[in-house]
Amino acid sequence: MHSVLTRGNTVLAYALSVLACLTFACFLSTVFLDYVTNANINTVKVVVKNVPDYSASREKNDLGYLTFNLQADLTHLFNWNVKQLFLYLTAEYKTTNNELNQVVLWDKIILRGENAVLDYKNMNTKYYFWDDGNGLRANENVTLSLSWNIIPNAGLLPNIVATGSHSFKFPSEYTTYRV
């Protein structure tokens, strides 16, 4: 019995299994690749203010303000199973309140085919650098690092930290003038 229905069913099932196999092969071909590379990060201007955080508790919290330089060439990270890179610049530090603080200051989406050579001078942060309390003033060790989350066509979603981070300290006095 070879009705239209059974023929259609067979063709569809075969097409789907071929697609599934190809997708799996695509995933396998890139799963063991190393996506780590180097990034150059530097801070230009660093100040800290103490102002009420109206987006959260309305209490006075430390607000860091900085501009940074960033150089990295991510072109070679792209292959046929990388649809997009989600770059993010993280500030990591320790305060008396919290053992670990991680704040993303800036992010960028790079799709495959777009320019992946980063060269930024004196960039402003994209997000406010609010601390959870008053731990930024005179903070001795804040580490900036660049990471990326790889979005594949099909496969794993690894988060990779670039080699080359930058540590800086905040000034010991609050700034009162506008920045």
């Binding site: 019995m1 987006s55 997009q84 993010y88 993280t90 704040v103 992010d107 979005i151």
Partner: protein
Amino acid sequence: MLFAMFDEVKRMNKRQFLYQVLSFGMIVSSALMIWKGLMVVTGSESPIVVVLSGSMEPAFHRGDLLFLTNFPEEPVKVGEIVVFKVEGRDIPIVHRVLKLHEKKNGTVKFLTKGDNNSVDDRGLYAPGQLWLTKQDVVGRARGFLPYVGMVTILMNEYPKFKYAVLGCLGFYVLVHRECA
């Protein structure tokens, strides 16, 4: 053709019919076992989710499939994509962690944002809620498969289509006999 199928059911004897019902039960129970097994292995209460909104575009579109894990020993980190539940909302949200503060006693609070949204998620959280904690997290996105979830979106949006598909499949499994 439908009548022919019904005729076939009539022609079956009791044993054959019972066998068909049992094999139908096998399919349903093995699907359930796979789902529950995945829950144990990944530690997440729903190890596979379908993306329902465009708030993470261009990374995830509507109908993409995400595989989640939720191992308690792995700390949540900034930059990870988490799936979380908010009180008063039925559907879990898939967004990225942008801020995280961990106290000395190990309690963690974090703030999320969708890649395609211009503001953070405080407006989406329950009234008065400023941070997410570990209890809100359903899982962390670990794997990605495009388009496959489109089927479930279709089924949820057109319930008649769902019942038609389920009915046809059930009927087919009950009636179908391997031709010798």
